[in-house]
């Protein structure tokens, strides 16, 4: 047996895992080789020394310290959760705000593109103008009663006489409606024109408000006239025409 192999077996012997046949061979070698014999005795003694190492006792408040640290960890965990919630809350707020801002930006840019004629070029001849028929007493008077059975001529109370969208000139009109003659490479008008110009939203809203008011007042007039006519027919009117 070689010394190298013998030293390997010594470790197995110290571990208590040496096979019986190997043990006999090892003993034989140790009897013959003084180096290996010394090695074995030294190894056994040094390992015996380390096995006899006195055990260190933990401090008395070991368990208490563990519990304290656990409590600290738990608090830190709860703090972290709370902080996370706060962040989430503010993040939600930021998200909502940025969503609103983005929406407004998209709306504004879309509107700018639309009015400047970059994305839509309406194919409407500019010459088309609409004439508003004259609203006369005769026209109104020809409106029959609800009781009329003639379908083709039936007009109901509250119906307006034929009216067209008021178009003042070829230059006006909102969102490319009649009157617009823009080109794709048309110069973008200044911001003041975009906001307050004839094509912009502000006059449009004002116009639509005005129209509503106008329509309502006309309706009222028509109603008054109709009732007056009915009274005249039945001869109950106190007012002479």
């Amino acid at each position: 047996m070689k010394c190298r192999r013998a030293k390997q077996l010594v470790f197995d012997f110290l571990d208590g895992t040496l096979a019986e046949s190997d043990r006999v061979n090892l003993e034989k070698h140790l009897n013959e080789c003084s180096t290996c014999e010394t090695f074995t005795s030294q190894m056994a003694r040094s390992l015996d020394l380390v096995h006899r190492a006195p055990l260190e006792a933990p401090s008395e408040n070991f368990n208490w310290n563990v519990r304290l640290q656990l409590a600290r960890e738990r608090n830190a965990f709860h703090d972290a959760i709370a902080a996370q919630k706060e962040v989430f809350k503010s993040w939600n707020m930021h998200f909502a705000l940025s969503a609103v801002a983005t929406f407004a930006l998209i709306l504004a840019s879309g509107y700018l593109l639309w009015t400047s004629g970059i994305i839509l070029k309406p194919d409407v001849p500019a010459e088309v103008t609409y004439q508003r028929p004259a609203t006369t007493i005769q026209n109104l008077a020809s409106v029959p009663n609800e009781t009329s059975t003639d379908e083709s001529t039936t007009r109901y109370r509250g119906d307006l006489p034929d009216m067209q969208w008021p178009v003042s000139s070829g230059e006006s009109g909102f969102l490319g409606r009649p009157g617009y003659r823009g080109a794709i490479n048309e110069e973008v008008p200044p911001l003041s024109t975009i906001i307050m110009g004839p094509d912009s939203l502000v006059p449009f809203i004002m116009k639509s408000y005005y129209m509503q008011f106008r329509v309502r007042s006309l309706q009222q007039q028509v109603e008054q006239l109709q009732s007056y006519l009915r009274e005249c027919e039945s001869g109950t009117s106190s007012v002479k025409p």
Partner: protein, 209 residues
């Protein structure tokens, strides 16, 4: 303490580590206390012999228990509790060594020998000052062993301490260190050789340990 909780404590004490961990997973803090009681000495001594600083060892041992409790939900009964706990502690030690190696070191300059290494030199720092055949006390013995173990190269020290101080099996050491069984075996044998060479002068002097 009322008799019921005493009875419950006695019942828990009769359980195995793995059963106690299941109780911990169900929310029993008492079970964890019992586990701490069972393992604190072993864990402290492993860490003390491994790093050589008692206070730091106790600190890491406590941290390991805290980590074990926090991650008790991840513990699976297929692994032995002791192996799992030693693995946690070993990883903590590794992290500390890594953090220390990154930090600038000054004190080592005084420790270094001519070749710049402090390891595997014959022991000479602590001379018990005893005559041959004179007995030395536990504290002195502990100090000698500690110094000798600290001189074993760090690479081999962990397996050696787990084997010789904590008497873990080779398979358990392989599980704790994440090494192959053959590697564990060879590292332990190398460490034993280093240890033998380190303590040889003392043994030669015939001091009765």
């Amino acid at each position: 303490m009322d008799p019921d909780s005493l009875k419950e404590r006695a019942r828990l004490r009769s359980l195995t580590d793995e059963e106690l961990m299941l109780e911990v997973q169900r929310g029993s803090n008492v079970s964890f206390d019992i586990l701490v009681d069972r393992y604190k000495v072993r864990l402290l001594n492993y860490l003390f012999r491994l790093i050589g600083d008692r206070d730091e060892a106790e600190e890491i041992a406590q941290e390991a228990f805290v980590k074990a409790f926090i991650h008790s939900g991840k513990y699976k009964t297929i692994a032995k509790f002791s192996t799992w706990l030693y693995t946690i502690a070993t990883n903590l030690v590794r992290n500390r060594i890594r953090a220390k190696s990154r930090a600038p070191q000054f004190l080592h300059l005084w420790d270094r020998g001519k070749d710049g290494s402090t390891e595997s030199k014959p022991i000479d720092l602590v001379d018990p000052g005893k005559e041959p055949d004179e007995e030395i006390n536990d504290l002195e013995l502990s100090m000698i062993i500690n110094q000798a173990i600290q001189r074993i190269p760090a690479k081999y020290r962990m397996s050696f301490v787990l084997r010789e101080i904590n008497q873990l099996s080779y398979e358990e050491i392989a599980a704790v260190t994440g090494l192959k069984l053959g590697t564990v075996r060879s590292r332990i044998n190398r460490a034993r050789n280093y240890f033998r060479k380190i303590v040889e002068p003392l043994l030669e002097r015939g001091i009765d340990f």
